[in-house]
């Protein structure tokens, strides 16, 4: 073995703590990467389970074509087919309400429902309903209901014999065997057939057999169950893909962060060994031999850390399912993705080797003379050389250039079919450049931040002064540590800013689509009979009963709906904020318009425009432009008199109302009150907007929970990086500690000083991190094409600042205690 390498490795085995601390960052990095892979697996599988309407046991699906009941029987007879379930959903009128009757075998792997109470229908004319349908439609077990599938078909009386739990309960579904469902309609056509094969059956042969059965002019497609499930899940997650793009960016940043942390820890570790390396050089070791030895050391670190990280992630990943299960949430198990595990270890090694390269080269450049200087003198260089400055400025320019390019390519608001990935990648690249610049220029940037942050500390006496001096006096080390903190803070700040923006967006969307709990409207556009609003308000189960009118209009060539629902009528409408103008002085002759109308019709606040409907025209002045949609997705909000002028009838188009209290019970009571109002008149429909709102919020919560889990891992990297770096910098300075103790600093004083120092690293890092994180998050939100506002969650950012400072202080506590415990003599004689 190369003697230099041998020296290095024996040094490593003599000081395993240092290797452990270096490896820790890489370990956590590979943990995060593999945990991300597992989280993806869990998410994907959970989404597949939750979002696909096809049972997991389905091997083949016959769909998109005509399949008859007779063909179903022949499919079931094809050799290799264990079970074939025909799917048919029929929409029927159950009294005054809409009800979906779906075919399901009720038992076996192809069934999508689980029994709750009663039994599954067996005979004709029997139905099972979902729990919310029981509540909504009052269809309790044992009750009878009259079903009407169309005007021509005669009504059928059905009896409810049980309650079943479906994959997702919309509150308007009944289940029955196929025979019962197809009896409701006249045509003998199935929507699709799901097929389960015998174990060991030849899927290709069976597929051909089935294709032969259904062959004909309108032959349906025979697809595999896996493909269909994937398609369905993808269609379902399509709408939240944009948000996943943001999440993916955070993972990419996490990987970059891990590399930077590893590089920074290697730099510190090698700085500690500067004298030793110089000595090796002095006794004749070549530079390349030194580099080789250091790189091999990094490689070993990478292998060990990568493996450990992967195993740890696997252990954690497999506790997610039981843990979530204990909380009553059903998520999928991540399985054992071995290829990804190998790739993660390879990535860990690659990152470590990349991270070790620059520190190894600069460490190997050590002049043999360094051996004669004291270790402290080498660590305390504060300035940066011209080359490094130039390098830093180049990368600053590159980062700014990246930002400029992204800014130029930003999508129009509400742009359709826009793929944000290239822009997000551009932002990651620009961010990485900014960080490289930060690393290079860090020592210069630390000073000004420290002057401000250290001012109160310096008043606090010698310990505070020493702490500030300790950080400022070795600005290089301080920069190395602070950059790690800055990464963590950037990620958190970015998430908070992004999350807050998406949240505002979601609330706005909810305010537009569901401004109240209920909407009662006439299905044929005739308008509600007079007196409904008063009676609804009098029922006691409803509050804020607000009638509105809505008509289709044209403004500046744009076809859009106009409503007289005032923006102040319901509290939730307050979330519809204005992009320009004001609602003050709103009245006849004025209008507030949705942003897309303003964009398409090229209108600005103060413009006067003609609005036409059914041949009538009124001229209105734009007094405000909404940031997004108008209430109930209308494009124009106008005064009632102007709507009348446009030919709107006096009868309200519909009315909005809130339940008088929170909770499912009050909601049901409100629904019943509205239903009593219509007395089963099929012309009037009640929509429970609150349910839609809950569902949208639920989707958002799932996505945010996943995002937070992923970012939690990234934050973990940052915090561990801080801990490791602080510990290393304390270990490195054990002689300084010894000297301070020798000249009379107390144990407590030394502890306080070192803890304050690491807290100062946190202060500097958090300040730099927020300064970078907020603008980049804004840019990222813009780049996703979501029409989200730029939000600064000030209190949250302040809390993050405080938390990071506390965390870094905490990370310093253990090493500080250790440094303070060592006797001054031992510390002074340590090399």
């Amino acid at each position: 073995m190369n003697p230099v390498l041998r020296t290095q490795l024996s040094g490593v085995s003599r000081r395993p703590a240092r290797l452990l601390l270096t490896g820790l960052a890489v370990l956590v990095a590979s943990f995060v990467v593999y945990a991300t892979v597992l989280a993806q697996q869990i998410t994907e599988r959970s989404l597949l389970n939750g979002l696909s309407g096809t049972p997991e046991a389905t091997d083949l699906v016959v769909r998109e074509g005509t399949v008859t009941g007779a063909q179903l029987a022949r499919i079931a007879a094809v050799p290799g087919v264990a079970e074939a379930a025909g799917r048919l959903e029929v929409g029927v009128q159950a009294g005054a309400e809409y009800l979906t009757v779906a075919a399901d075998p009720g038992t076996g792997p192809l069934s999508m429902v689980a029994p709750v109470s009663g039994r599954y229908p067996a005979a004709a004319g029997e139905l099972a309903v979902t729990p919310r349908t029981v509540q909504r439609l009052g269809l309790t077990t044992g009750s009878e209901v009259e079903l009407r599938a169309g005007d021509e078909t005669p009504p059928v009386t059905a009896r409810i014999v049980g309650v079943v739990e479906p994959p997702s309960d919309y509150g308007d579904t009944a289940y029955a065997p196929l025979g019962t469902v197809s009896a409701l309609v006249t045509e003998d056509v199935l929507q699709r057939v799901e097929i389960r094969l015998d174990a060991g059956a030849d899927a290709t042969a069976v597929r051909e057999g089935i294709a032969a059965v259904v062959a004909g002019p309108e032959a349906p497609e025979v697809a595999t169950g896996a493909d269909v499930r994937l398609e369905e899940a993808q269609a379902m997650v399509g709408e939240i893909n944009q948000m996943f793009a943001v999440v993916g960016m955070f993972v990419a940043v996490a990987v970059a962060a891990a590399g930077l942390i590893a590089a920074s820890t290697f730099r510190i570790v090698f700085a500690q060994r500067m004298r030793q390396l110089a000595l090796l050089r002095a006794v004749g070791a070549g530079r390349s031999a030194l580099v080789r030895a250091l790189v091999v050391e990094g490689l070993l670190t990478g292998v060990v850390a990568g493996l450990t990280g992967v195993l740890a992630a696997l252990a954690v990943g497999h506790t997610v399912r039981p843990a979530a299960g204990a909380l009553g949430v059903d998520v999928a198990s991540p399985g054992f993705p071995l290829a990804a595990a190998a790739a993660t270890v390879a990535l860990a090694v690659l990152i470590t080797v990349l991270a070790v390269l620059a520190p190894a080269f600069s460490a190997a450049r050590v002049s043999p003379l360094e051996a004669l200087r004291t270790a402290a003198t080498t660590g305390a260089r504060t300035g940066i050389g011209g080359g490094r400055r130039l390098f830093g400025l180049l990368f600053t320019a590159a980062a700014l250039g990246g930002v400029a390019v992204v800014l130029a390519a930003l999508p129009e608001p509400d742009a359709q079919d826009f793929d944000p990935s290239p822009l997000l990648l551009g932002i990651v690249a620009s961010g990485a450049c900014a960080y490289i610049a930060l690393i290079a220029l860090g020592p210069v940037l630390v000073r000004p931040v420290l002057v401000v942050a250290g001012w109160p500390l310096r008043r606090l006496g010698p310990v505070g002064r020493l702490a500030v001096g300790g950080v400022g006096g070795s600005a290089r080390r301080a920069a190395a540590v602070s950059v790690v903190v800055a990464l963590g803070v950037t990620l958190i700040a970015g998430t908070l800013v992004g999350g807050a923006s998406v949240q505002v967006l979601a609330e706005r969307e909810l305010a537009a689509s569901a401004p109240a709990d209920f909407e009662l409207s006439a299905s044929d556009g005739t308008g509600l009979p007079p007196g409904y609003a008063g009676r609804a308000a009098a029922s006691g189960a409803l509050t804020r009963v607000t009638p509105y009118r809505r008509i289709d209009t044209t403004v500046g060539g744009v076809e859009t709906a106009a409503t007289d629902l005032a923006l102040t009528a319901l509290p939730r409408l307050a979330d519809l904020d204005l992009a320009a103008g004001t609602t003050d002085g709103f009245g006849p002759g004025r209008t507030v318009i949705a942003r897309y109308v303003a964009d398409l019709a090229n209108l600005r606040v103060g413009d006067t425009t003609a609005v036409t409907a059914g041949g009538r025209t009124v001229r209105l002045t734009v007094s405000g432009i909404l940031s997004d949609m108008g209430p109930l997705h209308s494009g124009l909000v106008v005064d009632g008199s102007d709507l009348t002028g446009l030919g709107a009838k006096a009868a309200p188009t519909g009315l909005l109302a809130d339940a008088s209290a929170d909770g499912e019970q009050a909601r049901t009571a409100g629904l019943h009150a509205l239903r009593d109002l219509t007395a089963g008149d099929p012309r009037y429909g009640v929509a429970v907007l609150a349910d839609q709102r809950d569902q949208l919020r639920g989707n958002l919560t799932v996505v945010l929970a996943i995002a937070i889990a992923l970012i939690g891992l990234t934050v973990l990297i940052a915090v561990v990086g801080v801990g490791a770096t602080t510990a290393l910098s304390v270990v490195e300075r054990v002689r300084e500690s010894g000297l301070l103790r020798a000249v009379g600093m107390s144990r407590g004083g030394l502890r306080t000083m070192l803890t304050t120092e690491s807290a100062l690293y946190g202060v500097v890092g958090a300040a730099l991190g927020i300064a970078l994180g907020v603008p980049y998050a804004w840019l990222a939100v813009r780049a996703t094409g979501l029409n989200a506002p730029l939000t600064v969650p000030g209190w949250q950012l302040a809390a993050v600042f405080a938390a990071l400072v506390a965390l870094t202080a905490l990370a310093g506590v253990m090493p500080a205690r250790r440094a303070a415990r060592v006797s001054p003599v031992t510390a002074l004689t340590t090399d």
Partner: protein, 257 residues
């Protein structure tokens, strides 16, 4: 100037000893690998005098000094600093003693790299929350030739200058005893001579008690008295030493082993 047997009289008999060791034993490690670095050393260091400790490498000089200075705790025996028994004192008391009553100069790594020379000099006083006596500070800085160097950091100073800053730090708090472990070990002969002259002047002019460990007979000749150590035991002493006497005594010690 003869080598006399080591004085075994009670060190604080006339109240003159600034610091003294009584039957001091220090054992490193345990069992087979135990090293008896100090094996029953009884010695006193007179107030206002410059004493050098000499002896072969590994004879326990540094260990003795660390114990005397409250940097390390002895296995048994007592260390008296003035009237205070330093043995079995809690760390708080030792810390206060180091800060206010003791000064140090080490062979190397004397200064905090992030502090300026001036800040390094006043460090122990800062820690004690005291202000430096400006007259003394100015006098030390001028005598030590540091006037133009006060705002420099240690990395910008020569080895001799660094040692002089350390010396100023050790003297500015007017310690009862100043300990120096091979303070000239890293210096060329001229810088070394400067430092040694300063130590001697500190005893003469300021009445400072100085205890110095050295290998160099030339350095020891600056002292008022040389205490010889061998294998952790006292091996004699020389009053008003000169280079020849010290060299002879050291050779005798080496031959006697």
């Amino acid at each position: 100037m003869h080598i006399r047997p080591a004085s075994t009289t009670a060190p604080d008999r006339d109240g003159l000893a600034a610091v003294a060791a009584v039957d001091l034993v220090k054992v490193y490690g345990a069992g087979d690998t135990a090293v008896r670095a100090l094996d029953g050393v009884t010695v006193g260091f007179d107030r206002g005098r410059f004493t050098a400790i000499m002896g072969p490498s590994g004879s326990g000089k540094s260990t003795l000094m660390h114990c005397l200075a409250g940097l390390d705790t002895a296995t048994s025996g007592r260390v008296m600093l003035g009237g205070t028994d330093l043995t079995a004192q809690p760390d708080r008391v030792l810390t206060k003693a180091r800060r206010e009553r003791i000064g140090f100069v080490f062979q190397s790594f004397n200064l905090l790299p992030q502090l300026t020379a001036a800040d390094n000099i006043t460090l122990p006083l800062d820690l004690a929350g005291r202000k430096a006596d400006p007259a003394l500070f100015d006098r030390l800085v001028t005598t030590l030739g540091l006037a133009g160097r006060l705002t420099h950091r240690p990395s910008e100073l020569s080895g001799g200058q660094q040692q002089r800053v350390a010396l100023a730090r050790a003297l500015v708090s007017r310690p009862e005893v100043l300990f120096a472990d091979e303070p000239t070990g890293n210096l060329d002969s001229r810088s070394g001579a400067e430092v040694l002259t300063l130590l001697r002047e500190a005893t003469r002019d300021l009445g400072q008690t100085v205890v110095m460990v050295t290998h160099d007979a030339g350095a020891a000749a600056y002292a008022d008295r040389v205490v010889l150590l061998a294998d952790g035991r006292l091996a004699g002493e020389i009053h008003q030493p000169d280079i020849a006497a010290v060299t002879e005594a050291l050779q005798a010690l080496a031959a006697g082993r």
